[in-house]
Amino acid sequence: MGIIQKSQIKSPWILHFCNSSCNGCDIEVLACLTPLYDVERFGLVNMGNPKHADVLVVTGPVNYRTARVLKNLYNQIPDPKMVIAVGACASTGGVFHNCYNILGGVDKVLPVDVYVPGCAARPEAIIDGVVLALQKLSKAVGVAK
């Protein structure tokens, strides 16, 4: 357990991407950054740049237009990286399931690590999801348990 592995679970920088969501989950994701929930106390910072991010937070179902963008963003994130699907739509397609333009959940395109259900997902659930992702990351890099 080196200092780098220890630091990796203490400073996850998130990249927030909205597919074709109704923006309900996006508002909840941004609510996590407000003084009430303040995820920065865990070291989380919302990055606007995929090259600086560690965790890709995706909301909304994947459609044919955004699939390409999503893959591109995922490929630009340096390893080790995690993907969190936030909301019912990002997890399975939700109410948009079987629409003519919808591929389905994020897992149709990317390997998803954590699913956060809910419509819209509550900020507490999103924070739980990030913590779960960090536990998974710590197992992957060999820090924990």
């Binding site: 630091s7 303040d38 070291g43 910072v45 990055m47 740049n49 560690d54």
Partner: protein
């Protein structure tokens, strides 16, 4: 004679090792204090170190090899500046080296093909255009006061520089805001996850290279605060207290200000800070002429 040389080498090595720890801690205090000012709990004080080591562990995505070389030279020139400061060498040469360090960073931004990176590099050039004359006139004002560019002369002088150079001090505070990349002058890139033009000049710098830039910024912070401490160098602890007070003041200014446009930044710096410097130097020579 060789004892003295050994002593100086030792001082330089200690400064190179200790400076990043001080810079990182100051960055941690920055993030904590900013969070408290915004009514948040904030990350732990050691958060910048976690970020630094995490970035070291990320995989390398280099767009060009040239960029890496310029980033290394940015770090090396910054360390050289710090060594110049702790060994009490020539202030004018220090300012020139600092200028070249800044230019290396700009060239790192220009060496990729990303338009965001180019935008950031152009804006960084604008920042250099704003603060570089202030630092240069600071060195000239020190010369006008002491008759020497050597920092060792400043250290020997019993009357503090602040007494006669307080207008220059105000101008250097403006330069500190630009150097720390704080609002209202954070136009090239900024901290705290602000997003404008993706990440400005930092857009194409990722993983271990980002860690390298973070390290350089810590050296830079310590260096600029050290330059401010020179204003009250005898006794030095007063100067260090003044530098820390200036640091806290910058954080306050950062949190109560929005970002200005680049043109406005250059205008404010030249119209206010530069005029203060020039008037200060003219006044010193005028008083000497009268006496």
């Amino acid at each position: 004679m060789s004892d003295q040389v050994l002593n100086q080498v030792l001082i330089a090595i200690i400064a190179i090792i200790v400076a990043p720890f001080i810079g990182g801690l100051l960055a941690g205090i920055d993030r904590k204090l900013t969070a408290r000012l915004q009514g948040r709990y904030g990350p732990p004080i050691l958060q910048p170190f976690y970020d630094f080591f995490k970035l070291l562990g990320k995989s390398k995505i280099a767009t060009t090899r040239t960029q890496f070389i310029w980033l290394i030279s940015y770090l090396v020139f910054m360390i050289t500046c710090l060594v110049f400061l702790v060994l009490q060498q020539d202030l004018l040469l220090l300012v020139f080296l600092l200028g070249f360090a800044g230019i290396s960073f700009v060239l790192a931004g220009f060496s990729t093909k990303s338009p965001y990176s180019h935008f950031g590099a152009n804006r960084e050039l604008m920042q250099i255009l704003s603060y570089e004359p202030i630092l240069l006139l600071f060195a000239l004002a020190v010369y006008a006061q002491n008759g020497s560019f050597m920092i060792s002369t400043i250290m020997e002088n019993s009357t503090p520089l602040l007494a006669s150079l307080w207008p220059v001090f105000i101008a250097v505070l403006v330069a500190l805001t630009i150097k720390m990349r704080k609002s209202p002058f954070d136009i090239a890139t900024s901290h705290h996850g602000h997003q404008e033009l993706v990440k400005g000049i930092m857009t194409e710098i990722s993983g271990p290279y980002y860690a390298l830039v973070t390290l350089t910024e810590w050296y830079e912070l310590v260096l600029v605060l050290g330059l401010i401490a020179l204003f009250w160098s005898n006794p030095l602890w007063v100067g260090i207290l003044i530098a820390l007070a200036a640091f806290i003041l910058e954080l306050l200014i950062d949190n109560i200000n929005a970002r200005l446009t680049g043109g406005l930044m250059v205008r404010i710096c030249w119209a206010a800070a530069l005029v203060l410097c020039v008037l200060n130097i003219l006044y010193i020579y005028f008083m000497r002429g009268v006496a």
